[in-house]
Amino acid sequence: MNDRTQNSAGGRGGFLIRGARLLGGEATDILVRDGVVAAIGRGLQAPGDAEVVEAAGLVALPGLVDLHTHLREPGREDAETVATGTRAAALGGYTAVHAMANTEPVADTAGVVEQVWRLGQEAGHCDVQPVGAVTVGLAGESLAELGAMADSAARVRVFSDDGKCVSDAVLMRRALEYVKAFDGVIAQHAQEPRLTVGAQMNEGAVSGRLGLTGWPAVAEEAVIARDCLLAAHVGSRLHVCHVSTAGSVEIIRWAKSKGWDVTAEVTPHHLLLTDDLVEDSPVGSYNPIYKVNPPLRTHADVQALREALADGTIDCVATDHAPHPVEDKETEWAAAAMGMIGLETALPVVQEAMVDTGLLDWAGVAERMSYAPARIGRLTGHGRPIEVGEPANITLYDPAVRAAVDPAGYASKSRNTPYEGRTLPGRVVATFLRGRPTVLDGKLA
């Protein structure tokens, strides 16, 4: 039991969420029954068999949706599994995550995507929507069976070679064209491979001083520009993964101004962290906790990304949750794996970068962390407003608390978070997946 629920019916009779703030800002009660929102209004009476969740001061958000999660299963279960990753997702307020395809084996067939999808169903902490690889084995040479994955039980709509760029222009064109048959989208990891050979961190003043091979912004921007033109040429949907530079923002803004069907995401860490942390941070210089792909950029880039997320140029926030075991990070910079975990800190980081700075209100957060990613991923049961008759995917969030991040309590199997010891705002208090709590009082239900 916990201190926010009374009544020991275990929620079988539903939940009365009392006094949560809806996106309009007013406090109200929300009655959840049979997996849907049954009633909304002030002073609702709890049916005798319903549990009451006291939610005064909490914001009620639509269950969050992540377009970009690495669950590592199959193949790297030492870093994360579908079960541990989806627990982390639930604790972060997510009700659905897209699982990236760079597993071992690669999710490039109907069999693998169905396996991942079923593991998600069995775990039950949030819905797992597999992403299919664009090319066989992520090798960038031949198209994977995109149609078979689309037709499978997993109903794949997002295809990505994430971790690698589909750098061959012809292959990228064909992929964009092909997925039109089933309303798919190609999510491109934009990284020109020849411009990033040996690249270790953002190319700039810091890389120059540290003697780490630079990762130029243009390596990302050149691919985004090319892909926008290709998508426009063949009339397809393009999604740009983890945009990291001010120049990329300008290109996407231009593509959208043309009316092209281009969407983009930004990670929480690219909204908050900068490349100078590699040189100087509380954990010393060259600490690979900050090594991530794409790399952390400059303050000017962070500012441009925040503004672009606020004005809708960037459609959504995606975590790029990238778990790695400690031995892959406790090493010299060049040898370390790229990536950081993000599911359990995404909402607090977005609050700090976007809400507390006045750039977004909570309705804006709902759009960018729930509605938009569900829309881009064509998830029909997620990213819906909290209204009567809608699936009860709800996240209750307390924006008022501030606490030092302590990853010891994280559900993710990995601990590669750059926020350890840093104070972040906010706390996910409860997460409901189709009316069933996956998290209550900040703990797995």
Binding site: G208, R209, L210, G284, Y286
Partner: protein
């Protein structure tokens, strides 16, 4: 002085002058009959080399031994950076052996920083990737000071592959601290994009820089840079950025020619230039031992100099 010497930027002007003055003292003592001093007796210095460099290892080894320290050579060559298996484990082993100082050479930039977080002893960077090589800068400054006197206002040209050169990075930082004016010279492809923010000038034109240089330091150019299109051919590089007799003629009479070695004779430096009286290349090797003695002595807080011999 800080506990570690990882970057030339770790050195204040006072620190740097203290090291150079100490090196002067040590050089005087070394000229006496007994080369060995008891100052670091009972201390253990580990040479931890993940990358082959016999010259640098021997230089540190000689420095530590002349101060009577116990030296352990730990060659970890073959430990590939791609797996990154062993730096932390190695650090824990060194801890267990009670190393007072660890001299580390590693192909990964920043490896000494990481090591410093895992060991209690002093860490001395003997070259990390394309980052820094601070004792090389100290020995270069020591060499210049012996030949030219104070470095204040002296003009130093550093020529060649600045982008990949840890020697250039450390020299720029240390020489700026010591008041010298540095001009880096290279083709644009061999500068970091951010070179404009460094505490120095830069130029693409060697011939324009030579007449106003007190020191011209040539950097080694790796032949494989050509394959990566940093420059078209060896011949073109040599013509535009190589130091030959004609170019030396354009330098002031007192100007020095330096090279950290090993040299590509005929590529960045002509053989006759390398062997000329202006060249300090042989001296640099001897001064390397002295400068490293000074660093180890000061970091490990050895007994007073000159008291015994």
């Amino acid at each position: 002085m800080r506990r570690h010497l990882i970057s030339a930027a770790d050195l204040s002007r006072d620190d740097a002058l203290l090291i150079l003055d100490t090196a002067d003292e040590l050089a005087k003592i070394s000229e006496r009959s007994i080369k060995k001093l008891p100052t670091l007796r009972g201390r253990t210095v580990v040479n931890l080399f993940f990358e082959d460099s016999t010259r640098t290892r021997i230089s540190f080894e000689a420095a530590a031994k002349r101060l009577s320290a116990d030296v352990i050579n730990f060659s970890a060559k073959g430990s590939s950076v791609s797996k990154g298996e062993s730096l932390k484990d190695t650090a824990l082993t060194l801890e267990a052996m009670g190393a007072d100082a660890v001299v580390i050479r590693h192909s990964a930039s920043g490896a000494p920083h990481r090591l410093a977080g895992w060991v209690r002893g002093s860490v001395v960077n003997a070259g990390d990737g394309t980052h820094e090589h601070p004792t090389q800068a100290l020995l270069d400054a020591f060499t210049m000071r012996r030949r030219l006197g104070s470095l204040e206002g002296r003009r130093v040209a550093i020529v060649g592959d600045v982008l990949h050169s840890r020697v250039a990075r450390s020299n720029v930082l240390l020489l700026a601290t010591l008041g010298a004016e540095v001009t880096l010279v290279a083709p644009p492809t061999l500068f970091p994009v951010s070179v404009g923010s460094w505490p120095c000038e830069f130029s693409y034109d060697l011939d324009a820089v030579l007449p106003k240089s007190d020191v011209v330091m040539m950097l080694r150019v790796q032949r494989e840079r050509m394959n990566a299109a940093f420059f078209p051919t060896e011949r073109e590089y040599s013509r535009r950025y190589g130091l030959d007799r004609d170019r030396v003629a354009r330098m002031p009479d007192h100007a020095l020619v330096m090279h950290p070695g090993p040299m590509n004779r005929g590529m960045e430096i002509a053989a006759e230039v390398a062997d000329s009286p202006r060249s300090t290349i042989v001296e640099q090797v001897a001064n390397g031992v002295t400068a490293r003695m000074a660093v180890l002595y000061l970091l490990l807080g050895g007994a007073e100099l000159g008291g015994e011999n």
